[in-house]
């Protein structure tokens, strides 16, 4: 199920750790990069691939919030609402995005383009309010800035 590139990456990763178990987090990352989310089938596949019990992979995947346990849209918008962002108006940012995309937090637009999530501190406190779309950070947000950002996402 992993593509050749990921299988190659996994072989490289094996050299970094003395145990197979340590590959759990890196393998889940590779899976998420390839498939966008972590399904039960993927977890079973990873378990076989790195030779650890399925319940271990499940236990780890469910502990760490960044592994998507259900499919997300093409663009996963993650809004920080922790202290500094809260102080600088993250509540308005959420309201604006919910209205603009016509979805509630935790949901995906019907065209599968955007998923909206609230997340804990992104470490962008100096650029509050901040959000992350896939791997990219966007800081000092305002409704106008959000309009521009979303326009550029095809």
């Amino acid at each position: 199920m992993f593509n050749d590139e990921n299988l190659k990456k996994l072989e490289e990763l094996k050299k970094r750790y003395p145990t197979n178990k340590a590959l759990t987090l890196p393998a889940l990352w590779l899976a998420q990069e390839q498939f966008g989310w972590i399904s039960e089938d993927i977890m079973r596949y990873i378990a076989d691939l790195i030779n650890v019990p399925y319940n271990h992979v499940y236990s780890v995947a469910s502990f760490y919030t960044m592994y998507n346990k259900k499919p997300v849209g093409k663009y996963h918008i993650q809004i920080c609402t922790n202290i500094s962002c809260q102080l600088m108006g993250s509540e308005n940012i959420i309201q604006y995005l919910c209205k603009k995309l016509e979805i509630n937090l935790g949901n995906t637009t019907s065209d599968g383009k955007f998923t909206l999530s609230e997340v804990e501190c992104l470490g962008a406190c100096g650029g509050a309010p901040a959000m992350q779309i896939n791997d990219e950070y966007y800081e000092k947000l305002s409704p106008e800035k959000i309009d521009k950002i979303l326009l550029n996402l095809k």
């Binding site: 590959l23 760490y64 992104l122 470490g123």
Partner: protein, 432 residues
């Protein structure tokens, strides 16, 4: 006496993140120097420097290194902690972006001093951009034999790998970080045994913050004595202070320890937006006790001064709240964070953080009672000190301090009285 433009970690040198530029500016000479010293001498120099950990606990770094066994019968590990999950903290990413080689060099010196063969750099999953930037720097350092086999022909070998986290605040706790590297859920371990005895895969391990390790090259180049004279003697060096919240110019400021908190807010971070007054400040990341606006004058940013003020230096992440802030709402947000991030191992933390959030929510909804204030304090007091790791304490301290310092706000809410506009700010500093 060092002036405020004195920088160690983030010097004003364009493109210092590039290995060629870093080398031209004395880069990797501290590594060369250290490799010609005995490992013990390197540790003594770091001890002499008085360097303390920058991750929150401010433990003496040289002492921590000296806990590692001298024997080489087991593999030894160094974990560089770049989990940077503490709300209000955004400094390590500056190092990854603007001066990654200083961090790499510091880690290599640490590895040499402790006889470490493998360095894992644990970076929070959200920091994909900074993981890629650091990986580029690591690749460059490998290509010039600063990392890898027989470094600079000395026979000392060590590898450096990035391990990406996946969204768990708790993994910034050192034993939980090690479990996460081992491929487990991020559960903190009971201590003792400490990591130096029983760390990664049961082997001797040392965990240091990214900023701590980045201080090491300057210490080796200039000597421990030199470093010990920067800032406050009991907590020397410069710190990357992050200022955020209601300030005009938020950001990371590298300053010697002992800088006045009011200078940090008004001089460096430009003062409060709209020139409003300050109601409260969190001086060291979300876990530390709060300070009231009217008690800020004279407080210095170092271990002892903040301890004397009833708070802590933590990660040096300063969060400023203006006079209009609904602090109960902020406190509820903090409590929700700790509830969400509790790993669930210890009952007082797993249940208590949820109860605190619920009680605070009652106040926000206007349903809190006077009895609830004491109940909230009681829950906090029963979490503190009763958990495996410090997350429980970190959840309790903000609650305890806000009840102590802003009890009237709870009472007014309970009595459904309107909240007074608070104008408590350092009186002389509002218009700087």
């Amino acid at each position: 006496m060092h002036t405020s433009d004195f920088k160690i970690l983030l010097p004003d040198i364009p493109n210092i993140h590039q290995i060629e530029v870093y080398e031209k500016n004395n880069g990797y000479n501290a590594l060369r120097k250290a490799l010609n010293m005995s490992p013990d001498d390197v540790i003594s120099e770091v001890k002499k420097s008085g360097l303390r950990g920058r991750g929150g606990a401010a433990f003496p770094t040289g002492l921590k290194w000296s806990f590692m066994p001298k024997s080489n019968d087991k593999p030894k590990y160094l974990c560089a902690n770049g989990d940077e999950g503490e709300p209000g903290t955004f400094k390590d990413r500056q190092i990854f972006e603007f001066n990654p080689h200083m961090f790499i060099e510091g880690s290599l010196i640490a590895a040499y001093a402790m006889g470490v063969q493998t360095i894992y750099v644990y970076i929070r999953g959200e920091y994909k951009k900074w993981i890629d930037l650091l990986q580029k720097a690591i690749d460059d350092a490998y290509s010039r034999n600063y990392i890898g086999k027989s470094i600079l022909g000395t026979g000392f070998s060590t590898d450096m790998y990035i391990h990406r986290g996946a969204g768990a605040y708790i993994c910034g706790e050192e034993s939980s970080l090690m479990n996460s590297i081992e491929g487990e859920r991020g559960y903190p371990r009971v201590k003792p045994p400490f990591p130096a005895q029983f760390g990664l895969w049961g082997n001797p391990t040392n965990v240091n913050n990214i900023e701590t390790l980045s201080c090491v090259p300057a210490i080796i180049n200039n000597g421990g004595d030199w470093f010990s004279k920067i800032g406050v003697p009991t907590h020397p060096g410069t710190i990357l202070f992050g200022v955020s919240g209601h300030v005009k110019n938020p950001g990371v400021f590298e300053l010697p320890t002992g800088v006045l908190i009011t200078d940090l807010i008004y001089k460096y971070a430009g003062g409060v937006i709209g020139d409003k007054k300050i109601k409260a400040v969190i001086p060291g990341g979300s876990s530390v006790p709060w300070l009231r606006g009217d008690e800020l004058e004279g407080i210095k940013m170092d271990l002892d001064s903040l301890r004397a003020a009833g708070s802590a230096i933590g990660t040096g992440g300063v969060i400023v709240m203006n006079e209009d802030t609904d602090i109960l709402k902020v406190l509820k947000r903090i409590s929700r964070f700790y509830h969400h991030e509790s790993c669930g191992q210890c009952t007082p933390c797993r249940e208590g953080t949820g109860w605190m959030e619920k009680i605070l929510d009652r106040f926000i909804r206007g349903e809190g009672t006077l009895k609830d204030i004491d109940l909230l304090l009681d829950v906090a007091n029963n979490i503190e000190g009763n958990t495996i790791c410090a997350l429980g304490d970190a959840a309790a301290w903000p609650v305890q301090s806000v009840i102590k310092k802003f009890r009237d706000e709870f009472e007014r809410r309970a009595r459904k009285e309107p909240l007074p506009k608070k104008t408590i700010s350092p009186p002389h500093l509002v218009n700087i």
